[in-house]
Amino acid sequence: MAEVHVIGQIVGASGFSESSLFCKWGIHTGAAWKLLSGVREGQTQVDTPQIGDMAYWSHPIDLHFATKGLQGWPRLHFQVWSQDSFGRCQLAGYGFCHVPSSPGTHQLACPTWRPLGSWREQLARAFVGGGPQLLHGDTIYSGADRYRLHTAAGGTVHLEISLLLRNFDRYGVEC
């Protein structure tokens, strides 16, 4: 079997109209993949940028997978939320990116989107907060029913991921 090490960090997020952001992240893999060590999901702290609009989390990601095949390559998905001074959380965006498949260090910028409701809901969101969320979280990392959604563009989540691959060349995989 081949092994994949994913080591990196969620650096932060920029371009969101809200401040005080935190991120819930997770990794989804196919059936042929087994997680040997590491936590496959987590939540960052809440960060409020003082200068500029980039919120920094520097949240570590350290995972070790073993795989029997190429199907189901790991996918990272994020939910970026903002927390206001009253402690209420509001969705700022859903984001997704594939874990790269070539060894080395990759800087990834994942754009995010959030679902839009009717204009009434949008107005309410501007004043009171809230807004529609996805019913099934797996829509973020699968493309099946995406065409039903009407969304708005959010900010960008920045990642720095380093990848170590082992034994892939023994099975003739070029990466």
Partner: protein, 516 residues
């Protein structure tokens, strides 16, 4: 004079050892320089020091013109945290009133015992161990610069407080101006040993000049005389470690297993993890992307359940600098097989093409085509970020544009593959004369490509990255041709052997038995 070379380098040296520190032994040899022994240079002993253990020496307060031989030279072997008392300490602890902590009482007992057994064996060289009051206070008052009054800053106080937490602050130092630090030894729990100054070995001895009414010159050397580990012990240790690591590796490999899905021999599998990232620079809002992958007609195939197309969500744009950008983050996975059967063709293999069209659908249900684009999938494995530029067909005249603005609807392509080479094209010159287009925005794709083939396994030892994929696949056919040649050779030899056997014996040479 020319023989003795002083060593003035008193910087510290760092050593690493996995051995427990109680095996550490240090030998210090201290000697005073007088005119008589200056010429006979004796190698000095070594000192060890334990954690924050200071071996110092203090000259005898009674000065006399004539000193016996013993006063001028001393050699001590010290182990870790071994406490050797100075004269001052002996005097201090014999007085019971001066004992304040249990450690002081313990020292007093030891000194009394020593007195009973005939005095201590070291006269000049003594040590301070980790638990002595001296070391903590010394650290606090240590001066770094030559400023006249150097006051320890707040940070120094905090650091000293951290180390000093367990002990009280009272205490009196000895005649500090007569004490010189010979060597400081620090050990931490990771097996890092810091010796300041370093062991003298090939360097010359260190020197101390005492101040005061009598200026004297002393020299000392430090050596490491720790006993070496027994070879059997080392062997045992090594075996234990090997066992431990071996078992851990077995456990890991049992978790992992040894199978991996393989391709059919002679086939190349192209595996692409991709995502439609974003689209920018378009006129209207509420964009969505419809894309699909087209495989070339020859040599390529894909699994039956493979979905080769996708539609993203509709996204409202936002302004990013000059452009308006829509974020999709739409994942897709694509897999295809390339079968290299026909070896006579020299042409490069055709690679699949990714076509995309961008459309906008707004609240009023106005449907517009925003652009068409196409890009060839990358032939090299790795991560690629592709930016596809798009165009849309326009009609001459104002009417079409007005209609597009007010109610939507415009010219569309019937066959999307017209963007590159139409599927129905058979001639040699493609002419697009008459088609009017307008440049619109761009779509960004991020693709992670992997290629898998059995041929890569065999040629992995001679990896030549400059060769194209086709060349590497050729290796498969080359091997089969070599195999054919070998097969033919073997057949010919067998025939020859049979022919030889059928010949009469006297015609065959006597050394014919060498033929195997």
């Amino acid at each position: 004079m020319a023989e003795t070379v002083w060593s003035t380098d008193t910087g510290e040296a760092v050593y690493r050892s996995r051995d427990p520190v109680r095996n550490l032994r240090l030998r210090v040899h201290l000697q005073r320089i007088t005119s008589s022994n200056f010429l006979h240079y004796q190698p000095a002993a070594e000192l060890w020091k334990d954690l924050i253990d200071l071996a110092t020496f203090r000259p005898q307060p009674t000065a006399s013109g004539h000193r016996p031989e013993e006063d001028e030279e001393e050699e001590i072997v010290i182990g870790w945290q071994e406490k050797l008392f100075s004269q001052f300490e002996v005097d201090l602890y014999q007085n019971e009133a001066a004992c304040q902590s249990p450690l002081d009482y313990q020292y007093r007992q030891e000194i009394l015992k020593l007195e009973n057994s005939g005095g201590k064996k070291n006269r000049r060289i003594f040590t301070y161990t980790d638990s002595d009051r001296y070391t903590n206070l010394e650290e606090h008052c240590q001066r770094m610069t030559t400023a006249a009054s150097e006051v320890p800053s707040f940070l120094v106080e905090r650091m000293a407080n951290v180390r000093r937490r367990r002990q009280d602050r009272r205490g009196m130092l000895g005649y500090k101006k007569y004490e010189h630090v010979l060597c400081t030894l620090k050990v931490d729990s990771n097996g890092v040993i810091t010796v300041k100054p370093d062991f003298t070995g090939l360097k010359g001895p260190y020197r101390i000049e005492t101040e005061g009414e009598k200026q004297e010159l002393w020299k000392y050397t430090i050596d490491n005389v720790s006993p070496l580990a027994q070879p059997e012990e080392e062997e045992r240790e090594r075996r234990v470690f090997k066992d431990l690591y071996g078992r851990h590796k077995e456990y890991l490999s049992s978790l992992i297993g040894t199978d991996f899905e393989m391709t059919v021999p002679g086939a190349l599998r192209l595996f692409v993890n991709g995502e439609v990232v974003s689209a920018q620079g378009y006129e209207y809002d509420n964009l969505y992307v419809h894309f699909f992958v087209e495989l070339p007609t020859t040599h390529w195939s894909s699994p039956a359940f493979q979905q080769l197309s996708g539609v993203t969500q509709t996204c409202t744009t936002k302004s990013l600098g000059m452009d308006k950008v829509a974020h999709f983050s739409y994942p897709f996975t694509f897999e295809a097989f390339f079968l290299h059967e026909d070896e006579s063709s020299d042409a490069l293999p055709e690679w699949p093409v990714l076509y995309c069209e961008v459309l906008s659908l707004d609240f009023w249900q106005r449907y517009r085509v925003e652009g068409y684009g196409a890009v060839v999938l990358p032939a090299t494995p790795g991560s690629h970020t592709l930016t596809v530029s798009t165009w849309r067909p326009v009609e001459l005249g104002m009417v079409a544009e007005l209609r597009r603005f007010f109610i939507g609807g415009s010219l569309e392509l019937e066959d999307l593959s017209y963007v590159r080479i139409p599927g129905s094209f058979k001639g040699e010159h493609l002419s697009r004369f008459g088609l009017r287009t307008e440049t619109t925005g761009t779509v960004t794709f991020r693709l992670h490509c992997l290629q898998q083939s059995r041929a890569f396994m065999e040629s992995s030892s001679l990896r030549k990255r400059m060769r194209s994929v086709l060349d590497r696949l050729e290796g498969f056919s080359q091997q089969s041709s070599i195999h054919n040649v070998l097969e033919a050779f073997r057949r010919a030899r067998r025939r020859m052997q049979e022919a030889r056997e059928s010949l009469p014996q006297d015609l065959v040479s006597p050394s014919g038995t060498l033929v195997s």
